[in-house]
Amino acid sequence: DVKVTQSSRYLVKRTGEKVFLECVQDMDHENMFWYRQDPGLGLRLIYFSYDVKMKEKGDIPEGYSVSREKKERFSLILESASTNQTSMYLCASRVTSGTGELFFGEGSRLTVL
């Protein structure tokens, strides 16, 4: 069974803290994605990566960075968390671009106080 695992389901952090959200997939997928989801706003793409050490900005990259040192792992980093980054964060992966379906993790709900 394919699996995308996000390290934490729930996190509570304080304003200004550095936050790491980890995502690991076991399907040898090239493409990985980070989305955030807020009520009424659907899924918004933060960053994506199409290969190791490669990254591209999505639609809302401000305040975030990413790291992809290994193929199976894609990390989302909030350098200095702010309250407006309180959200559900979803990681996804798929094989290289084309018709492959996206596989999502269960999500990480981050609260910034």
Partner: protein, 111 residues
Amino acid sequence: LAKTTQPISMDSYEGQEVNITCSHNNIATNDYITWYQQFPSQGPRFIIQGYKTKVTNEVASLFIPADRKSSTLSLPRVSLSDTAVYYCLVDDKAAGNKLTFGGGTRVLVKP
């Protein structure tokens, strides 16, 4: 870039057929259309994918007209457990691997 537009919400009753139409006027020749389902507090999951005409699997059908500027997801005989948000996604090859979701359609199935 291919942008998708869906109704925000729709209600139905158990046993009825639900049809959700997604508009994607700027779809390019090689782009596929994929639908995802999302339950609360879970990540979206794949339902069906198509390129043209009709595709059917065990849970849904996808109808795509010849001009491919829209697609309709059809859920036959829905049950309460089909209450979810449904997203249409166009695999926009011109945008590389950037997969941008639309707002989704919230389907509420009533008893």
